[in-house]
Amino acid sequence: MTVARIETLLATPPGFRSARVAQFLWQMDEQRRALLDGVRDLTPEALQWQPAPGTNSVGMLLAHIAYAEAHLVQVGVLGEQDGHAQDVIGITEEQEGLPLAPGAPPSPALAGKDLAFFVDVLARARAHTRRVAQSLEDADLERQVHRRRPDGAERVFNVGWVFYHLLEHEAGHRGQIGLVNHLRRLAGGG
């Protein structure tokens, strides 16, 4: 009997100055592969379906993942004071629509968008992250970033935490996307 070998080894992709950063990117890319696998074949109708008014659609969550990634890399890794994610992904925070007001419909800016639109937005964010990450060294992961919150509190994190957060943020919303898809099928949405 031929035994199929299914290999799942966490790799260190080439092209990075830091092996630790490279492994973060491998994990983020693996998460992205699983994310896109879970939404393949979704129609524009499925992408803007809501479990209930005021809850996020899959399309909004995909756009939010891309927006958050571009923004966090700008302010958390590059140390920019104000993010300008729109320059990277082509949509604003208002257009991705999170957080949605109670009872609100999905973001009108995303209405009718097909999967290719969201795949492109996500790819732009990741290409930006990769360009930035390739030049980082191990020591950059320890670099602290200080930001002032609107209430005056000081927020302190380091670049290593930003990469951890990018991973857990995408994984969390991927879990929600799986749940929204499940609820849509239960509701007869195909």
């Binding site: 991973l167 969390g172 879990g175 799986g178």
Partner: protein, 110 residues
């Protein structure tokens, strides 16, 4: 480690299935204890891991598909534990949101 078996978490739930009776009426402290036990076990096991241990390959053949050999390393296991926790955390937040909305807005009576 945990005191419950693999069937006791109830997943995967059958179509139209209800939560497992083994979890019925359990208070939050029950789940906090389960999570604490699992994490303590993980800490105890990985605290002395070296980089070589993280790269060590492991093999398994799932009983339901003995024709497949699964090869993975400890570094991937730790990545998977993280993304698995994060994914279900996202689902829990969404279910809490839906629960709050349902309690505020009861379904109309038939």
């Amino acid at each position: 480690v945990l005191g419950i078996g693999s069937d006791d978490d109830g997943m995967p739930l059958a179509e139209n299935g209800l939560p497992p009776a083994t979890l019925g009426g359990r208070p939050p402290a029950f789940y906090e204890d389960l999570l604490r036990r699992a994490r303590a076990h993980t800490h105890a096991r990985v605290a002395r891991f070296t980089d070589d241990d993280l790269a060590r390959e492991m093999r398994s053949s799932p009983p339901q598909n003995p024709g497949n050999e699964r090869v993975f390393d400890a570094r991937w296991i730790l990545y998977h534990v993280l993304e698995h926790l994060a994914g279900h955390h996202g689902q829990i937040l969404m279910l809490r949101h839906q629960y709050r909305a349902a309690v505020r807005t009861p379904a109309p009576s038939a």
